[in-house]
Amino acid sequence: MTGPGPDFAFLDVATLLESSRPRGRWSGMRLLIAGCAAALLLSWFLLGQTPGTQQLFSVSLSVLLGVFVAGWALNGFLAVREARAQQRQLQIIEELIQLRRWPQAAFSVQAFLSRPARSPATRAQAMLFLAMVLARYHRFDDSVAVHEHILEEVLLDDEAVHSVQVGRAMALLRAENLLDADRAIADLRRQARAAGGIGESPGLALVEIYRDVKTGHPAEAIQMFQSRLAVMRRDLGHRLADAWALAARAYDMLGQSPQAEQAYRNATLLLPLVELRRRYPEIAPLADRLAPAAAPAEVA
C-alpha cells in the first residue's frame, strides 16, 4: 500500500472546509431532460414535418417518454443510494471515534470532507467529527476554528448549537485561550438561564469544572461537581470519570487528601489512567502520589 505523497496535508482544515461544500452541479436528471428535449426536436425536425413519417414520429415520441420515465426512476435510485452511502460513511466515522481508533477516524473524516457533501447536514456532522479528531491530536486551535465554522455557517437546532458551543469552549480551554473560554462559558450560562432546560447540561458542568481547576479555583470546581453530579451521572456514561478526575485534582489543590484519593480511585475505576491523563494533563501531579484503582487480571 502506498502512503500519502510529500504534498499531502494531514487534516488541513481550510482545504477540507472548502472542498466539502455541497455544490450545485449538472445532475443526471438535468442531462436527461436536455437529452430528451434535443432528441424530441431532432425527431420532429427529421420526421414530424413529412406526412409519411408522422407515425414513426409518434413511435419515437413514445420511446422518448419511456426513456424519460425510466431515467427519472434511475436518477432517483442513484441519488438515494449515494445519500445512503454517505450516511453509512458517517456512521463508520462515528464508530471509529467511539472506539478511539483515532488514526482510522482521521483518515476517514479526511476522505469524507475531501469531496463535496450531498447536504449541509451531512457536512456539519462530518465537521463535528473533524473537530473531535483534531482535539485528539492536540490541534486545539484548528478544532476551535472548525467549531466556529459550524456555528457560523450551519443552521442547527438549539440542542445541537449547545453541544457545538460546549465543544468549542472545551477546545478553547485546552488551547490555553482562557479569556475566550471564559467568555464562551458565560454565554452558555446566559443561554442556559434563558432556556431553562440546558442549565442542566452535563457538558457545560464538565467544562466549568475544568475551567475552575485550570484557573486555580478548586473550591468552585468542587461546588459545581457536587451540585451537578446527579446530572452528569445520568448523562455522561463512563465519561463521568472525567468529572471525578477533575474533582480529585480540585480536592488535591485544597489539600483534602482523603477526598482526593477517593475521587481519583473512582475516576480510574471508570476509565484507564492513561486516557484520563491524555484528556486532562492537569491531573498528572496526582499520579505520583495517589494509587489508581486496580483492575482484575481478566480485564486489565
Binding site: G237, H238, L270, E298
Partner: protein
C-alpha cells in the same frame, strides 16, 4: 388506540394491493409503448401512456409524503409524545402507498411505540409480522432487537433465542452490537449461563463503557452477577463498584428482579 391484529391484516392487504397496481401500471405502459400504434390506441398509445405516467407520478409523490411522515415518529416516541406518534403512525398505515417503504416503516414504528408503552405482546406480534416480509434488510436488525427485548420481557425465552440467533448471523453496527450484548447478558442471566456470560469478559466490559449510563450500569451488573455466581469475587466486586458509580440500584434493577436481589446483598 390502533388494534394490532387489524393493522397487521390491513398492512398485508395494502402491500398486496400496491404490488398488483404497480404490476398493472407497468404492463399498461409496456403495452402502450410497444403495441400502441398496432392496437390503434388513441394518439398511437401516447395519450394512455401519459395518463399512466401521471398516475404513477401522483402515487409516487403520495408514497414519498407518507415515508417522510413516517420518519418523524421515532423522535416523537423518544420524546414520550406517544399520542401524537400514534396519530401519525395511524395516518401512515391508513393512507395508500405505491411502494413498500412507507408501510414497512409505519409498522416498525408502531412496534417501537408499543415497546415504549411496555405492551410487549403487541410489539412482539408486530415484529413477527414485519420479519415475515421479504426485502426488509435495513429494518431487520432493529426489528430483531426489538423482538428479542419484547419476548424477553414476556418471558418467552424461545422467541428471544430465535431472535438472538438471527442477529448473530447478521453484520451489526456498533450501536446494534451494544444492544445485542445487553440482551444476550439478560438472556444468559435468565437461563443461568454464568460461564458463557463471562466469556471474553474484557471485550464485554469495553463495550459496556461505550453505552449510555443506565445501560452501561445494567450490562456490568449482569457481568458482576455472573462473576459472583461463578465464584470470581475479585472481578465481581470490581464490576459492582463501577455499577454503583454509574447509577442507582432501583433504576438498574427495574424489571430485573435478579439484579435487585444481587444489589441488595452486601458482598
Amino acid at each position: 388506540m390502533i388494534s394490532v391484529d387489524g393493522v397487521i391484516a390491513r398492512f398485508r392487504r395494502d402491500l398486496a394491493l400496491a404490488a398488483l397496481l404497480r404490476a398493472a401500471l407497468m404492463v399498461g405502459a409496456a403495452v402502450c409503448l410497444l403495441g400502441g400504434p398496432m392496437l390503434g390506441l388513441s394518439g398511437d398509445g401516447l395519450v394512455p401512456l401519459i395518463l399512466i405516467g401521471a398516475v404513477w407520478i401522483v402515487l409516487s409523490y403520495r408514497s414519498m409524503v407518507g415515508a417522510r411522515l413516517a420518519s418523524d415518529s421515532p423522535s416523537l416516541i423518544a420524546a414520550g409524545n406517544f399520542e401524537q406518534a400514534e396519530k401519525q403512525i395511524d395516518s401512515v398505515l391508513r393512507s395508500f402507498s405505491l411502494f413498500r417503504t412507507a408501510k414497512l416503516l409505519g409498522l416498525h414504528h408502531l412496534a417501537l411505540l408499543r415497546h415504549a408503552q411496555r405492551r410487549w405482546r403487541e410489539s412482539a406480534l408486530l415484529c413477527q409480522a414485519l420479519l415475515g416480509q421479504r426485502g426488509i434488510a435495513d429494518l431487520s436488525r432493529s426489528t430483531l432487537l426489538l423482538m428479542a427485548d419484547s419476548t424477553l420481557r414476556l418471558g418467552d425465552l424461545r422467541g428471544t433465542l430465535w431472535a438472538l440467533d438471527a442477529l448473530y448471523r447478521q453484520r451489526l453496527g456498533l450501536a446494534e452490537a451494544l444492544a445485542l450484548q445487553l440482551l444476550q447478558l439478560d438472556y444468559g442471566s435468565r437461563i443461568g449461563a454464568w460461564e458463557q456470560m463471562l466469556s471474553c469478559v474484557g471485550v464485554k466490559v469495553q463495550l459496556s463503557e461505550l453505552m449510555p449510563s443506565i445501560n452501561a450500569a445494567r450490562s456490568q451488573a449482569f457481568l458482576a452477577l455472573a462473576a459472583y455466581k461463578a465464584g470470581r469475587m475479585e472481578l465481581a466486586r470490581w464490576l459492582r463498584r463501577r455499577v454503583e458509580l454509574l447509577a442507582d440500584a432501583p433504576e438498574i434493577a427495574a424489571d430485573r428482579p435478579i439484579l435487585a436481589e444481587m444489589l441488595a446483598q452486601a458482598w
